[in-house]
């Protein structure tokens, strides 16, 4: 353990030091090769211009390199792999995709993903909005919000342990230690293995994600609500509008953009959901989702890269509309000069 710490310490120093070294070093070099500070004569002027053409790339270089290696090329390569066989050697055309759409597990996963997509973002956004509204004027509102928000800091695995405990099942007649079953038996029902119930178990898994992500929605929507100008609400009140009318006709439209951002962000997250299903059920009892399916095909049974890649592409395609929308939004608003 001790030597591990030493090793880590030195690697950190080297890694971080290397970074600093690159940035300082390359800029220093640039200033040396094209000196521009001393005076205002023609060569200094020319050098300054050369500097300002080269320097941006020094700044951006490492980022571009890493992004290309870790995100851009992999995306392209995954796309390419999806048209090849399990080891990535032989071109097989659409075979992987054909297989996928005919495969039961795949269809099940798509179905489950759609289920997740329909329920979780909407529920999180709705609850987030309600809690944001309720806590807005409480003196202890900030504390309340941070408690709702806290699950976000917990890993998905940790959350799974917590909720597995909640859903725990003991046989009929025994004392239940999972709180859900305890409540059920208290009211006379019989305990269930919640995570194994066909179809409904998905919802019990979803509850975990809702538990985690509602905090995200709450914080953002609360900030958006704060940003609504008082005047618009006061004017509406004077105009005789009742509370629900004000909420739906004045408040919600003004934060509509934010609601959309929250909803789409959670949607993207849901599409990538992996940890929860892995730790709670490991895709058993028909809970499989696309990310887990892909993981399985990647590693189990020696790995089939072609099929795994095809599944990844399917996930990507689902995310595409949101990506395009985000890019459009970003293009509309750009600061700097």
């Amino acid at each position: 353990m001790f030597e591990q710490i030493i090793y880590a310490f030195f690697t950190v120093i080297i890694g971080v030091g290397g970074c600093f070294g690159y940035f300082y070093g390359s800029n220093w070099l640039l200033d040396r090769v094209f000196p521009a500070n001393a005076n205002n004569d023609a060569s200094a002027v020319r050098n300054l211009k050369i500097q300002s053409t080269i320097r941006p790339w020094l700044f951006l270089g490492p980022a571009l390199l890493l992004l290309s290696v870790y995100l851009i090329f992999p995306v392209i390569q995954t796309f390419w792999l999806s048209f090849h066989d399990r080891a990535g050697d032989k071109f097989v055309g659409m075979a992987n995709y054909v297989w996928a759409f005919n495969d039961d597990q795949f269809r099940l996963s798509i179905f489950n993903n759609i289920l997740w997509l329909a329920v979780v973002p909407a529920l999180c956004t709705l609850m987030g909005l309600i809690i944001a509204v309720l806590t807005d004027r409480l003196w202890w509102g900030n504390l309340a919000k941070s408690l709702i928000f806290m699950p976000l800091a917990i890993s998905f695995v940790g959350a799974s342990v917590i909720w597995k405990f909640v859903y725990d099942y003991r046989g009929e007649g025994q004392d239940q230690i999972g709180i859900i079953n305890a409540i059920v038996t208290y009211f006379g029902g019989s305990p269930q293995v919640w995570i194994a119930l066909p179809f409904w178990n998905n919802f019990f898994l979803m509850a975990i994600l809702v538990w985690i992500q509602t905090g995200f929605a709450t914080v953002i929507l609360a900030a958006a609500l704060r940003g609504i100008p008082e005047d618009t609400l006061e004017a509406a009140t004077i105009d005789g509008a009742g509370p629900f009318k004000i909420f739906f006709r004045i408040m919600v439209p003004q934060i509509y953009g934010t609601i959309l951002v929250v909803w789409t962000t959670i949607t993207v997250l849901v599409l990538k959901i992996f940890d929860i299903v892995l730790t709670m059920t490991n895709s058993q009892w028909d809970t499989s989702v696309l990310a887990n399916l892909m993981f399985d095909w990647m590693f189990r049974g020696g790995g089939d890269f072609g099929r795994g890649a095809a599944i990844a592409i399917v996930i990507m395609v689902a995310v595409l509309p949101i990506m395009i929308w985000n890019i459009r939004q970003a293009n509309k608003e750009q600061g700097g000069h």
Partner: protein
């Protein structure tokens, strides 16, 4: 000290043509003020001279060198921004010394120069403070200090007094005037929308409208001989009275302009007849607002006025102070 020469300068942002064929000769050591309404291009012109914006066409010369392609830090200019742009996390000393750091001076040299400037601007006791602990006037002095310490040949001011309240503004005007006196060899280009600042501080004024230079001259030249309705109406407060219709036709002009202090009261019915609508008594002057058939006129009377609201008056413009303008709103020969 440096001359600034603009020849056929044009500046566009994309398809929007902001500055149109600007020609200017600014003499070394002059205090020249660019003035005009919002959107007239005065700030753009200033930024073009500074190099923060690139000129689209035409030539810009500073100290007889063409500087179109030269970056701002190499033009020998210093700029005081409207917001002062003080680095919030640096002390006054560091703010003023920053430029010297970039020039590669030693710490001792920097210390000497900064302290000298600090003394000149009475900032010595504030040198260790952060900008947020300074008042508006002090911040402005730091901004000016930054400009002075570099020994720049040209100072550029971008509406530095706009953020101050009225009383402070008067005081700061005096300080800038003092600066002008203390640095007689430095060319100073000052941008403002406030014509009072222009009139009180400038050696010469450049009036801009919609990207064009309307008139260049000393304050009194512009006051007494405006070349257009626009300039005539822009310079002078309260605004010059413009009269169209019968009184103008009588003098063979489309519009005549008469400043509030250039009216006489008469009994003659051939002069402009009107009713006193409203009076503003300032103590030193009284301003009478008189409704006439061709519009409302402002008349200035020194001290108190004995006229009462509702009273009928006849106004006669003093002949040699009448400005005549033709169809194109430009001045007609006298």
């Amino acid at each position: 000290m440096a001359d600034i020469k603009l020849t056929n300068l044009n500046k566009s942002y994309g398809t929007v043509h902001i500055l149109k064929d600007v020609n200017l000769d600014i003499k070394s050591g002059e205090f020249i003020v660019f003035v005009g309404p919002s959107g007239c291009g005065k700030s753009t012109l200033l930024r073009s001279i500074s190099g923060l914006d690139q000129v689209s066409s035409g030539t810009l010369e500073i100290d007889n060198a063409v500087v179109n392609e030269v970056p701002p830090s190499k033009r020998g200019i210093a700029m005081v921004f409207q917001s002062y742009a003080l680095y919030p996390h640096m002390s006054v000393f560091e703010n003023i010394g920053f430029a010297l750091e970039n020039q590669g001076l030693s710490r001792a040299e920097i210390k000497t120069k900064v302290e000298a400037v600090g003394e000149m601007l009475q900032l010595t006791s504030y040198l260790t403070r952060l900008p947020k602990a300074l008042s508006g006037g002090q911040r402005q002095r730091v901004a000016i200090g930054r400009a002075i310490v570099r020994g720049a040949k040209v100072f550029l001011f971008d509406e530095p007094l706009s953020n101050l309240d009225a009383a402070l503004r008067v005081q700061m005007r005096m300080e800038i005037a003092k600066l002008k006196r203390d640095l007689p060899k430095t060319t100073m280009v000052y941008v403002t929308h406030d014509q009072v600042e222009a009139m009180t501080m400038a050696d010469r004024i450049v009036v801009l409208q919609a990207g064009r230079v309307m008139q260049v001259g000393t304050p009194m030249e512009l006051y007494e001989n405006p070349n257009s309705v626009f300039v005539a109406g822009f310079i002078g407060s309260p605004k010059m009275n413009f009269i169209t219709g019968a009184p103008a036709e009588k003098l063979n002009a489309k519009t005549i302009g008469v400043r509030p202090e250039h009216f006489e009261f008469s009994d003659s019915k051939t002069d402009i007849a009107g009713t006193l609508d409203y009076t503003e008594i300032l103590g030193s002057d009284s301003f009478l607002y008189v409704t006439t058939p061709t519009g409302m006129l402002t008349v200035r009377q020194p001290g108190r006025t004995e006229f009462k609201t509702g009273q009928k008056l006849n106004l006669k413009p003093i002949a040699q102070h009448v400005h005549r303008f033709g169809e194109d709103d430009m001045r007609l020969a006298k």
